[in-house]
């Protein structure tokens, strides 16, 4: 009923896709929705941007049909509860550590070494501090480096999406962890630079597309397209959105 009232045109069907804020802030999710809508005029794809934990919660409560998340540990629990009809890693990007240009020379090397240097030097670090995939990863990286930054005076939490967190880090001359696409989308307004941290598996960022059980045929079709059809067009989208080739890549 609600879907019928809220949808765009007569006879069009609404699919609600909830995605991590990094994907929405980078512009990729809207671009994908536009692409699908122009090929399927009868379908209205509504994009909601939330932290991955909340995206999964929306799926759990039946408020979203298709979920795009990048928080493996949280996804595992969702899948274990049998709430997914279809779920696959569809594409990947990577995380980057960004900071003020003045720290570029000081902060380079492996991610562990750089995090240890940040903690030792008490350099201001801005954390998402929400249930996002980016924040989950950040916590894992601190753990791997043997540091517990919680409660330290140089460690700040915004509890907000990727875009606002990047702005706070930029204005406070601080360091933050960002998904590459949302950083590049905002980069020309910011002084932040990508720090030269050697990319290991710890900075890989896989996006999982999940179709919640018991959804409409239109929702299922959109989810299948995200997994099978959309990845082939990613390099073209990378160029049109970011003027770069390889921000988002098809999953292997």
């Amino acid at each position: 009923m609600v879907a019928l009232v809220a949808c765009g045109g007569p006879g069009s069907e609404r699919v609600v896709v909830a995605a991590g804020t990094s994907l929405v802030d980078s512009g990729l999710m809207d671009a994908l929705a536009d692409q699908y809508e122009s090929a399927n005029p009868g379908v209205d794809v509504s994009v909601v941007g939330e932290a991955s934990a909340q995206v999964l919660e929306l799926g759990r409560r039946g408020a979203a049909d298709v979920l795009v998340t990048h928080a493996p540990a949280l996804e595992e629990a969702f899948l274990a509860d049998g709430l997914a009809e279809l779920s696959e890693i569809a594409f990947t990007s990577e995380f980057v550590l960004v900071g003020p240009p003045a720290l570029e020379d000081r902060l380079r090397g492996t991610i562990e070494d750089v995090l240890i240097e940040i903690a030792a030097g008490e350099l201001e670090f801005v954390s998402r501090g929400d249930g996002s995939g980016t924040h989950e990863r950040e916590v894992e990286l601190w753990n791997a480096a043997g540091i517990d930054p919680g409660g330290e005076p140089w460690y700040r939490k915004t509890g907000q999406g990727m875009g606002l967190t990047l702005i706070v880090a930029d204005q406070r001359l601080a360091i933050t962890l960002s998904e590459r696409g949302s950083f590049v989308a905002a980069a020309d307004q910011l002084d932040l630079q990508v720090l030269d941290v050697s990319a290991g598996p710890g900075l890989l960022n896989p996006y999982r597309v999940t179709l919640v059980v018991g959804r409409t045929a239109a929702a299922a079709d959109f989810a299948k397209w995200l997994i099978d059809g959309a990845p082939a067009g990613l390099s073209e989208l990378n160029r049109s959105l970011f003027d770069e080739d390889d921000i988002y890549r098809p999953a292997d």
């Binding site: 939330e50 932290a51 934990a53 909340q54 919660e57 501090g129 929400d130 249930g131 700040r156 939490k157 915004t158 509890g159 907000q160 606002l164 702005i167 706070v168 930029d170 204005q171 406070r172 002084d191």
Partner: protein, 233 residues
């Protein structure tokens, strides 16, 4: 219904913990930011509103239109403009105010001043013509005449103060943009509600909402008491 009751129970549970930890810091920051911003709005807005309401000058109508428009100023627009002004490298960037409580006070005062001006002007401007003539006949300095007029319509001016406070305490768009919702530094009740809702912590979000309503109730009860106390004389 079960879902709502469950959230309500979570909210009460969160409140039963008292004002310890994060909640205390959030309530404290919310209170002082709202009080300072309302104070600024009162100190600036009531005199300006009195001048606008009592004065006779050419631009009176155009200024009234501008003030009334500013009363409906979208908070996110005020936040955006302040963000640009306070941006490092921007016109006032060297003040270093962005993402600090003073920036939030500035944002809220910007939104509340037009309300104090507009409602005060409407209140004193609404004095009956006879009262205005009488007032003009007093051989008093202008500011004293203004003070007498404000006192005459005090319950309505008290309403202006309450409206300014209501705008400030419930506002979320502007303080999120210029404050950044930084834990322990710029997180206030409204931005905390947004965040907890986004993270599906509905009970915690609702608990913050109850505290917010409680604060509004206390302040408005105080203002109303002042209104009645004076109008009874």
């Amino acid at each position: 219904m079960g879902f709502v009751l469950e959230v309500l129970r979570d909210a009460l549970e969160a409140l039963s913990g008292g004002l310890g930890g994060d909640l205390g810091a959030v309530v404290w920051l919310t209170s002082w930011i709202a009080l300072v911003a309302t104070g600024i709005a009162v100190l600036v807005g009531i005199p300006l509103g009195t001048v606008l309401g009592l004065g006779e000058f050419r631009a009176k109508r155009s200024i009234t239109v501008l003030v009334n428009t500013a009363m409906g100023m979208p908070p996110v627009l005020a936040g955006l403009v302040l963000l640009l002004l306070l941006w490092r490298g921007g016109p006032f960037g060297s003040w270093g105010l962005l993402f600090t409580p003073p920036a939030m006070v500035l944002a809220q005062a910007t939104l509340a001043i037009p309300i104090a001006v507009g409602l005060t002007a409407a209140a004193v401007g609404g004095l009956p013509p006879a009262a205005k003539e009488q007032l003009a006949a007093f051989r008093l300095p202008r500011w004293r005449r203004g003070a007498v007029a404000v006192r005459e319509v005090w319950p309505a001016v008290g309403g202006a103060v309450a409206a300014a406070f209501g705008r400030v305490i419930s506002e979320v768009g502007a303080v999120l943009i210029v404050g950044g919702n930084i834990r322990g530094e710029t997180r206030v009740l409204t931005t905390a509600i947004v965040q907890e809702t986004r993270q599906a912590q509905f009970g915690q979000a609702l608990a913050f909402g109850f505290v917010l309503l409680g604060m509004a109730l206390v302040v408005n009860a105080g203002i109303t008491w002042l209104q009645f106390k004076d109008s009874a004389q």
